[in-house]
Amino acid sequence: MKSIKKHINIFIMLMIVSHSCSSDDSNFIAESEYTSVNNLPAPQFGGQGQPASGPFTKFDFSSGSITTNEINWDIGFRGTTIIVNGGESMGTLDEPTRNGNAAVYIVNDIFSNVLQVEAGLFVQDSSSSYAINIGSGNGWYNYTGSPEHLILPIPGRVLVFRTRDSGYAKVEILSYYYDAPENPNALTDQSRFYTFNYVYQSDSSQINF
């Protein structure tokens, strides 16, 4: 009961953390503005030996919010799995069909250093694997194993997305636990709540962030 109530109360807070309203277009090294998303819920049913199921939480970069729209979404979250709206479904239970042109690649760098999109690196989901590989160390997180059992975002992993309509976004995931606690505890902190920063570039002719 408690957890259901918590789910209802959850809303996505958007904060513009910093403005650098630089009108000087040539100076793209200037500190760019980024947006933070806190506590994006990514529930999952099954797992633990059973097939994973339940709807993915879909996110739309152009509106900067969660959406239930079957078409106008860019990326989806379920448990530790992140999918893109591009390519093919792996056919797991409740997995949405892809109808956009979204794709992703992962860079190993400091978020503010990722300034340009490398179009040649994009990968889409396929019927055999997701573009963001699952498993500890393969994609965006490390799993600490026994006895801590923590899912920790790998620092320095930046996800660069092409959105469904060929815009771009870079994303840095910060936490998988509710309210992004400093020292998460897998037994007491609620998991499957993403906190991440992103920069969105809607102009497909621009490859700079």
Binding site: G47, Q48, G49, I110, I134, Y141, N142, G156, N183, T195
Partner: protein, 668 residues
């Protein structure tokens, strides 16, 4: 049992058996060996092997899965140390670690710890070091003792030795019973950190001297342990260990120069456990049955007063039946070793040896060793050595076929992959495969190492001496796990592979200081760097990042930020301060160990242990004991182990807290 009354460092020659497989003086051995004699064991009032090993320089007891304790030597995990009982190996590593709590010290004459690789004599597993437990032999006449120790956590240890030797016949018998209610470091759950248990050890030895030149020896040992098993208040059961060893030897001395030993060893280890629901229905059960049989012949040939050779030839058969296994595998191997020793004089000797192991499941191994003893003068001795070690993949790494029933992931032994994966694919369990199955047709390689040791002994005078040993171990083909496939249930399939290269290096210093005729101090220190080479490269290339808090920006780490492997402490320190009053037959001692901070897991997500991770703080353990002998034959001791009552329920499961005990021993 004699209470220490020496006023200077014992000049008596101490004999080591395991370092060269011949009786050899400790003082002229060209490589690092720690000898723990019966007197030290008795004065510390130890009961299990782990109690006394943890007080030695450079040795660290670390807990492993299932409440067992193994030893870390020169920064290498316990699975890389070979444990011998009178020169033959103990088995029963259910999860890689051989549990040293299994071994009672009641019948131990001395413990020899050879550091650095010794595969040139002992083959597989002798990679970080060899621990040889030398048990008591029959001594002339009739004698014996009864020994009782009782203490906190309802521990009670009872043992008795009986020995008889007359003319040609010698008989020795030993019985030990140990029980404990275990202990609980967390109070908020239904299980105990260590559940109550009870174990028995029975050992007999028979010797028959046909003549001065012909000796027959037979030893049998039985061990049994029963322990409660519990994962929640209503899922309970039992676990059981049964072990036996049969060791027989026939020694013949053909003449003054040639002697041979024919040895036959057979051992069996069976661990089983079950858990039932409150209703009595079975929840789970497990069994692990291992057997090792090994005949060996060795010959010692002294072809001049300065040169000798020892050579050995052996066959080994090892089998394992275990739950969650792919088949019932059997290993067969044959081996040959030879070691040449040249002793120029008391100030120079060297050893050159090698062993060849031929195995039915993986490529053969050649393990050489070269060591020298150079006495510069009466104060300084140098001992450089280089040797190689290896550890063959164990049964688990080759044949495991285990699916976790609650989480649904699967772990496959390397040799099981090519058969099991196609089967899982045809059952529709695999959604994607990340590896080429053809790459599993080559054998998984043995983990191997090269060890360099440079000993430097400095004896200032008869009251003060220092032993330094610089060491470096390079390990290749370390076996690790990786994900090889994804299952349709979203979980992964793991298997084993050769990848990592690690090294451990450091320095070990021990010192002995006799303050006066009543007080003596020994102390030791180890400095250790244990690192993964690939990790070090990633740090050097600026590929590793960290964040101070989850919401602060990430930054690049450099090579200096890399701490090294998990569960390694940079500094370890130990001391033993002993005070005795000879005329009262009294001795008291304070013993302490310290280990500096260490990391158990990566807390900041980058996959490595770096200086921004959470560390377990360094800690100290202090033990006190008082020993008094009455009328030569009766000893009473009182003691407190872990006087400071250190415990850390989250990170250190093998330290129960303060223990008070009393001990009585009667010799007859």
């Amino acid at each position: 049992m004699q209470v220490q009354d020496s006023t200077s460092i014992k000049e008596l020659e101490e004999i080591i058996l395991s370092a060269t497989r011949t009786e050899r003086n400790l003082s002229s051995l060209p490589f690092p060996v720690t000898l723990i004699n019966k007197k030290s064991i008795k004065s510390a009032n130890s009961i299990r092997l782990s109690d006394i090993l943890e007080e030695q320089t450079g040795l660290l007891m670390v807990p492993d899965y299932g409440g067992v304790e193994g030893v870390q030597i020169q920064g290498l995990d316990s699975q890389y140390s070979l444990v011998l009982l009178d020169g033959v190996p103990l088995i029963g590593r259910t999860a890689g670690t051989l549990d040293l709590d299994r071994i009672t010290v009641g019948n131990i004459k001395q413990i020899e710890v050879v550091k650095g690789p010794s595969s040139s004599l002992y083959g597989s597993e002798a990679l970080a070091g060899v621990i040889n437990i030398v048990t008591e032999d029959p001594s002339p006449g009739f004698g014996g003792n009864v020994n009782l120790r009782s203490g906190s956590f309802s521990t009670s240890d009872i043992s008795s030795e009986l020995s008889f030797k007359k003319n040609k016949v010698g008989i020795y018998a030993f019985v030990n019973s140990f029980s404990s209610e275990g202990y609980d470091l967390t109070t908020n759950d239904d299980t105990r950190t260590v559940e109550p248990y009870r174990n028995y050890t029975i050992n007999t030895k028979t010797q028959y001297n046909f003549s001065e030149n012909m000796l027959m020896f037979f030893s049998g040992r039985v061990y049994r342990q029963d322990q409660a098993n519990r994962i929640s208040s209503n899922i309970t059961g039992e676990s059981e260990i049964d072990e036996w060893n049969i060791h027989s030897k026939f020694e013949i001395k053909f003449n003054n120069d040639i002697s041979s030993q024919f040895e036959f060893y057979d051992t069996y280890y069976h661990a089983k456990e079950y858990l039932n629901y409150g209703s009595g229905d079975l929840f789970s059960s497990n069994s692990f049955k291992q057997r090792l049989t090994r005949p060996e012949i060795r010959t010692i040939f002294k072809f001049s007063s300065k040169n000798s050779i020892i050579s050995g030839l052996g066959l080994q058969k090892e089998s394992l039946q275990r739950s969650d296994f792919f088949g019932s595998p059997e290993f067969r191997s044959s081996y040959f070793y030879s070691q040449f020793e040249h002793k120029k004089d008391d100030s120079l000797n060297f050893i050159l040896g090698a062993r060849y192991d031929n195995h039915n499941e993986y490529s053969s191994q050649l393990s050489p060793k070269l060591a020298a003893f150079i006495k510069i003068n009466d104060k300084i001795v140098l001992k450089p050595s280089i040797s190689s070690g290896f550890k063959t993949p164990d049964f688990r790494q080759l044949y495991l076929y285990f699916t976790n029933s609650t989480l649904g992931y699967t772990v496959l032994g390397y040799n099981a992959v090519t058969s099991v994966i196609p089967e899982m694919e045809s059952n529709g369990e695999i959604s994607s495969l990340f590896v080429d199955l053809n790459s599993f047709t080559n054998d998984l390689k043995a983990e191997s190492s090269v060890g360099y040791n440079f000993g430097f002994n400095f004896k200032l005078n008869s009251k003060l001496k220092f032993d330094f040993n610089l060491f470096r171990n390079e390990i290749f083909n370390l076996i690790d796990t990786r994900i090889i496939a994804q299952k349709t249930n979203g979980q992964s399939v793991f298997s084993y592979y050769n990848l990592n290269e690690i090294y451990t290096q450091g320095i070990e210093i021990t010192t002995n200081f006799v303050l006066n005729n009543r007080t003596s101090l020994s102390a030791g220190y180890q400095l250790l760097y244990a690192k993964d080479k690939a990790a070090q490269r990633s740090f050097r290339n600026g590929e590793v990042f960290a964040r101070l808090t989850p919401t602060s920006p990430s930054f690049v780490l450099n090579e200096r930020d890399y701490f090294g492997l998990f569960n390694r402490s940079r500094h370890m320190f130990n001391f033993n301060l002993s005070y005795s009053i000879p005329k009262w037959q009294f001795e008291g001692n304070v013993r302490g160990t310290y280990r500096s901070k260490f990391g158990l897991y990566d807390s900041n997500g980058n996959g490595y242990l770096d200086k921004y991770d959470d560390f377990v703080e360094g800690y100290s353990i202090l033990d006190l004991s008082l020993n008094k002998i009455f009328q030569e034959n009766f000893k009473i001791s009182l003691g407190i182990d872990n006087f400071l009552d250190f415990k850390d329920y989250q990170n250190i499961g093998n330290i129960p807290g303060r223990i008070f005990y009393g001990l009585a021993q009667l010799n007859f």
